[in-house]
Symmetry: D2
Subunit: 345 residues, 4 copies
């Protein structure tokens, strides 16, 4: 039994961490922080939790790491990094759900996030928390940078094509569709119900902040420089994310053969499911679970692989993956606390 | 560890039973039936279940009860009753999620369901499976008639007012709003996405089939005849149900005093949560859980109690309540397999 | 051809006024105001208008009334009333879509809106702009208080029962369901997409500000004091509002007979449609139109009339009704600019 | 004033034709057909139309063309073509909203639609009804094949890149997202509310029937063979369609320069709006209008043009475009009956 704390417990990823960890047999809650709701109990903020947890919310303090084994940072980007040295000076390990330590280069971080990186010296210590590719490094890491939701769906979908050398690296395109909860829990005009209901809105085409994260990790897997066109779209649903991925095949291959390559590639992975040939990944089959479903298609007319990848943006795209990383870091079974199916309908 | 079977596994309540029971520590699956999908595996019908269960679906047979301890009937109304004698002749106990054995009078059943009741002799053997009021009888029942979703929300909300004698019995009104999943899983024009999205549709006002069920049970609690105006509405969401309940108070009482009465009334109930005075029950706080939230308000200007009651129509309104009944019948802890919070957002 | 100005053009009711008046053959636009977006063109704020109007937004000034025949105030409650004397000193007529001049008693206004009324002397000059009951007074009014969306749906639904003396005046209940656009266009946590999608939320039961407005107008029609229980609910759709109305009948009457009374009552009304006996009012049949559909049912088992009333909250519940009032005030045909059917699906 | 008839009036495109033509100053209704609802009035089928039209529905007959100037066929694919010779033998002109006469080659039609083409001889007589490219031919056509919704959004978006020779023709990708009304009005399990709400579903990747239509028309514009990867996705909204289009630029160009090319290209087009550089096309700005909005972006990092194109699938993607074609065929002003802005929110 370990103690865990959550900084930023009153946001959606914080709430989802609480909900998942409530049913995790190996953890108990230490500190939950919130600046906005400090003094209230978490069940007052989220009545859905009534009867399950009643911790009082407190403001974040730099010594939070002294009273827990794992500290989850579920804070807005750039707000947690100022105290990272203090967190790491404590005995705890840190899983940071923000983007602060995902980009290895402080320069690239500053270019895309338009703010200086406060802890460039700590960047080498952070491991990118995508278990499917960095399980060993995560196991021994003190600081895990939990991946973004879009990068998780795109990297898992494209990795086999890239690692197996099947496609031209200058042909990569990711067209992603996300539910609105990805925008977080804050009052904003653009994510008001009436503003985004019943409409699809492309945004950040060509300059979304998840682009360098995707490119960094795919480059690492390919061992060769590459770039990608990444196009996110907001669609009218609360949860779920689907990426349709395009890449030019170097040579002809059938859908079945490509699907087998994917199946072999992810053999044994607890949270990646490769669909039958001809099936496409639908968010309806993964929401509320930690799965990423991947559908494999070859468009033989155009010589492209078209991969569909679906996950729950708050679970495999955020809090579920963070729990998976915790399981790895602590030596728990990787499915512990995450071993449930999606909910449909 | 007991064996359970589900007749009608390819509908929404069947699926929800499977999903809940997969995480129940005391059960394992015996037989899953489906006429439409017989021969397929359940995970082919519902890919959300992939990796968790792979039972082959078979047609329903009259001797299904021989190979399980509990048989759940998740069939459309009037399709399961023909074999009820055979089911009860086997060693299993039956939890029937349809309406077939909820109405004690075959005559009233036939009047509202417009079809003859095939097993009037068995009606006295069926216990109405609302644990909050019939826990003891359920414990020893061979056949439990699992309540309808609307009746569960209305009865739980009104019972304290009626049992405590606080209101005029001729003043009862239930205005209920339901998500679309309550209509079940079948191709129908009226529940097509484009037909019911972005609109609210009252239906069955004054003649919905859940009316006699509500009246029968409230009459039983009141020990006096009563009737109710019951008005269901279809609203554009998949899950969730809210009932706003009106009753004329016999004498003045404050909201706080009435809320305390409710709190005392449901003291110790594992799945009923009484909200603070001035809070209203919202489906967002109960969906995907087995809770029924109840908000208590006195409209002192008009002398009415206005009660709001919210639940998940597929869980506390159907499959979760069925599992709760199973727990009672088998002597398991009543929260076993149901001890999780709602999911928000 | 008259000149019209709109104060508060960058809100939803302002936008809807623009959209409707663009197709009105008798008006042209003078001034559009917005504090937030002053300096921008209206089509920059609402790209849906691109190619149709390109007026520059300006801040509201007290002499706006000098350059138009009709001034529409589409401002938040209590922000327009400070300059009402100046507006009325100009040659223009005013149609106020806010609640500021709906309540005849400054005292009652202050009790429900928790702010002093700044122009109690002007209250007698304002006519309540519900054309079905006050057409003549509206015709000669200088200041029309455009009704709230909830009051429009409730008053139109209950009026025949009350005026014809068919029901007990102490038995009135209105259970209303509204789309989210009724909350207006502003960043707010509670109306964020992820907060209110897929859920139904009762709010303001027993103390919503539209209650005194409904009671005032029904009292005026009944010529006798009365009160009502009014329960609004937020449901997950952008537009539309449905009220289910309950009243105890003084004596038995059939649904058909009651429906005929309604039909006769609203004979000749251009925007009230009485449905066939046994049909219920659905928002899907009225959205994007100026109609209010009314369904009439007698629940003979309980002796109640149950009336369903549906309208588009931004049209018959706000901007469309304002245009209807303008047509009456200017002697245009009452359907001018409003003579279009609802849009389905 | 001309007489128009609609075959298939009880589907969504039929209803939308009726709604649009009701406000068209130059037409009156002759015959409305429906097999399913023959004998009923159209307002009984669609109560939204009550008070505006009350034509009785009749079954389709082969001589329907004798009593109208324009016959709209809003029938399911392959059901109208059997009587096309009779229709064309009558004095009327035909606008066919189905796919039957869009594909010029009967062979390709049969390959993608898996059914023989019954009227191969008539294929050369049909003009593809995309006014932006075939206005003159449409003007003199007896039979217009009204384009599909996906093809309209894709062709309008890609045409300038192709005609101006700016991109590699083997690099074309269209990733499209559609609301559910595109599936038409029929009971089907996959488009049940609960099945497709809150989820995104790719479908038909690599083999959707609109692919050959897109390729045929782009080939015609390019005057060179080409193919495209076309990926449709169903998303949870009733109306609207957005296509994100990718093409490799032959040489560097700035977003502004490309946007100017688009603007010049569509100069004077009444229903194509080119957005400012850096803006993306959102369905929320076009729904309920006949506009197609196009956003132009250059992803300079990857050397791609990324074009976003949004329209209302039932209007510019179907019935509105059909009215636009009628206007051209009859010499009416092209905006007649279509000159209204989108509706937001």
């Amino acid at each position: 039994m370990i103690d865990i704390s959550i900084a930023g417990a009153s946001g959606y990823t914080g709430l989802e961490l609480i909900r998942l960890l409530l049913k995790h047999p190996e953890v108990r809650f230490s500190t939950l922080t919130s600046e906005t709701y400090a003094g209230k109990s978490i069940a007052e903020v989220f009545p859905s939790l009534e009867g399950h947890i009643d911790h009082k919310l407190v403001p974040l303090s730099e010594n939070i790491g002294n009273t827990c084994h794992i500290l989850f940072l579920a804070l807005p980007h750039t707000t947690g990094m100022k105290w990272m040295p203090q967190f790491l000076a404590s005995p705890c390990k840190v899983i940071d759900l923000s983007a602060d330590f995902r980009i290895k280069s402080a320069e690239i971080f500053e270019q895309w996030y338009h703010t200086p990186h406060l802890q460039p010296d700590l960047l080498p210590k952070a491991e990118y928390g995508l278990p499917e590719f960095h399980r060993n490094a995560i196991q021994s890491a003190r600081l895990v940078a939990n991946p973004g939701c879009y990068p998780t769906s795109v990297i898992l979908g494209l990795a086999p094509l890239i690692i197996e050398g099947l496609v031209n690296l200058d042909s990569l395109i990711a067209d992603s569709k996300s539910g609105v909860s990805g925008a977080g829990r804050k009052a904003s005009l653009s994510t008001q119900y009436s503003e985004c209901n019943e409409g699809v809105s492309p945004y950040g085409l060509g300059n979304h902040r998840h682009t360098p994260e995707i490119e960094q990790e795919l480059t690492r897997l390919a061992n060769r420089d590459l770039n990608i066109s990444f196009s996110p779209h907001l669609i009218p649903m609360t949860r779920g994310m689907e990426s349709t991925l395009y890449a030019k095949l170097k040579k002809e291959i059938s859908t079945s053969a490509l699907q087998e390559i994917y199946q072999r590639f992810y053999q044994g992975e607890p949270f990646v499911r490769i669909l039958k040939p001809g099936s496409f990944a639908r968010t309806g089959n993964v929401v509320y679970s930690n799965y990423c479903d991947i559908g494999v298609t070859v468009d033989s007319r155009t010589g492209r692989a078209i991969i569909t990848s679906a996950l729950d943006n708050l679970i495999k795209g955020a809090s579920g993956q963070a729990v998976q990383n915790m399981n790895i870091m602590q030596g728990f079974g990787e499915r512990t606390g995450l071993d449930f199916p999606a909910i449909f309908p």
